[in-house]
Symmetry: C2
Subunit: 362 residues, 2 copies
């Protein structure tokens, strides 16, 4: 019998147990093919069926319209920080950046190296980003090649619940840490991108959902391996993709469908968020969340205790109780509970119980 | 009981059965940590131990000197085709390219986009590259920033057994399809790079072995995620690496050490090569290998039958007999048997038996 810890890691992160069990069961002999899925050629019929099934399931789950294409790429979201301006800049420079935390800062940093970007918003208080901008605070250019933002900030614990209006300017969103958390209207996005290792699978593959006209208009004066147009033309098999991560993404999508799709994910995620934020707000100030109430992430819950010594004690005792990965990011300290799709409600309830007991004892 | 086929795929390719069995056994609970290795944070102690163990084992197996550093990167060898000139070009352009097949052509193609390269050798006969150059055929520049070559050509079935002398110019070698096939003197190379999916593991990670002075001198005017200097400084954890592929590479390296290291791999690989080439040369011309005898690859054995119809029949009957992945690459046709480290001698013997029976019957 396997002892399974409750894993609050920010990514790579917990995955649905049935998905792990399926991978284990199929690992030596995938569907009677006489070999592991990881030994199949990326150009063979067996892997290609998995690859296309992943694309079809993502299209179904997110209701991706015909105007958009799904791509798989290497390199994580951080590689997209460079590839987005390389592909989408115009001759005047790169896009408008709404900077709401570390990931937005990094995206802006790479854009500065590629071609001059424009900062549409970047407000930090003592190095922290504890709220998100309102529409009228954004300094957007009507002729920008794109607007970039991060929909959920894993480190700061903020999340956009309403997206800014960018008019006719293509909206490009790093959705690494909240893709698939609830239904969205994909037609509002020119490009969504996300590393797999939070809501979709293990690390090693990045999912892009791009408007076809944006793909077609992407630059062709960069190395071929980096061109969105070439990736799209090759159905993401220009070279060997990380086949195991794509296989796992397919299996996670199958699990989401079995659970009832994104409406079920949203109910499940909101229930978990309410349970933890309820425990924080009902603790008479013992636990404090620094994030503005309306911007509190339901994927990464960030909070602090009355002292750093208590933060440490909390993490140590939680770990001993099988609640792991709760230490806050080194940039902000405190506690962080990452509660992506695969975190069961039971795991959150165990954390909430622990929080009550810890507060009473301390 | 699992029926395991003999898998001659060119990559992703067959992996050692004990390595697959270990991954399956450990999949739900890695070393009692209460979670799968793919659920561990890339910044946590458990994954970091795996990551560093992979580097240490590679260093031991290849006897990598202190002058060199091991890096893991995303994107496959094809991404290096762009990153090498981006990082290593000088103000006059990029390096000298010895083009011995499709992969060299692609590397040259990306270099042309980044900064003017120089062709040191490129001979094809009707689009084929059936032999490798001799030293005196190479047109090398003494002031080139680097010389690039492909040590083994998966499509053409050629392999360098003696490397060209490039003098003081750094030698950069795409060793994707023959790294770890035998002991080498790493000090002769300024940079070795290889996608994992032939001799090292599943697809999703690229291994670089680079001279430290080359890393330090690499360009800093490119996006940070692409800079060799940044990758090295972060011990390849600048962003989230594909953790499962790295874990598998570690396990393949452990298997190589158990087998007796690279001297044992070389004996094993030479025995397999002799068995298949022996069957070809002893077939009275029924099987023909187009490659010059001294350049015949012991990783990818390419041969043809008297007609395309017989090629097809051979592949179909072999597949029915559990010998899969033998169809030649679409560029050259015929048959290709990829016999990397993980291909057991028994698998090659089964192929040789089949070749005898097929030649007699046809």
């Amino acid at each position: 019998m396997v002892t399974r810890h409750v894993n609050f890691n920010a990514g790579p992160s917990t995955l649905p147990l049935p998905v792990l069990e399926r991978a284990q069961r199929e690992f030596l002999d995938y569907e009677g093919s006489g070999m592991s899925i990881i030994e199949h050629s990326h150009r063979g019929a067996v892997y290609e069926a998995v690859h296309n099934d992943a694309i079809e399931r993502l299209t179904r789950v997110l209701q991706i319209p015909d105007t958009h294409q799904v791509l798989f790429m290497h390199g994580g979201a951080s590689t997209q920080f460079a590839l987005i301006p390389m592909n989408l800049r115009n001759d005047a420079g790169s896009g408008d950046y709404i900077v709401t935390g570390t990931w937005g800062q990094k995206a802006l940093g790479e854009a500065k190296i590629v071609a001059t970007p424009h900062v549409a918003w970047d407000q930090s208080v003592e190095g922290r980003y504890e709220r998100l901008p309102k529409q009228d605070e954004l300094n957007l250019r009507p002729d920008a090649p794109y607007v970039h933002l991060t929909s959920n900030n894993t480190i700061m614990g903020t999340q956009f619940f309403e997206l800014p209006d960018t008019g006719a300017v293509p909206l490009v969103v790093d959705m690494s840490s909240d893709i698939l958390w609830r239904p969205i209207d994909v037609s509002r996005f020119a490009m969504i991108y996300a590393g797999a290792q939070k809501n979709m699978g293990p690390s090693g593959v990045t999912v892009l959902i791009m408007r076809k006209d944006l793909i077609e208009g992407a630059r062709k004066d960069i190395p071929k391996i980096f061109r969105y147009g070439e990736v799209a033309k090759a159905n993401s098999l220009q070279n060997t993709i990380a086949t195991f991560p794509v296989y796992m993404v397919r299996n996670v999508l199958a699990w989401i469908e079995e659970q009832g799709g994104l409406p079920a994910m949203e109910r499940h995620n909101r229930a978990k968020g309410e349970a933890i934020y309820g425990a924080i707000d009902g603790s008479d100030g013992f636990y404090r969340c620094p994030v503005a109430t309306e911007d509190r992430s339901v994927m990464n819950v960030v909070f602090r205790l009355p002292s750093e010594a208590l933060d440490k004690k909390f993490v140590a005792e939680a770990t001993a109780a099988g609640l792991v990965g709760l230490k806050g990011h080194r940039q902000v300290g405190g506690i962080r509970a990452s509660i992506y799709n695969a975190m069961p409600l039971d795991g959150v309830e165990r954390l909430v119980d622990f929080m009550h007991r810890f507060a009473q004892a301390n």
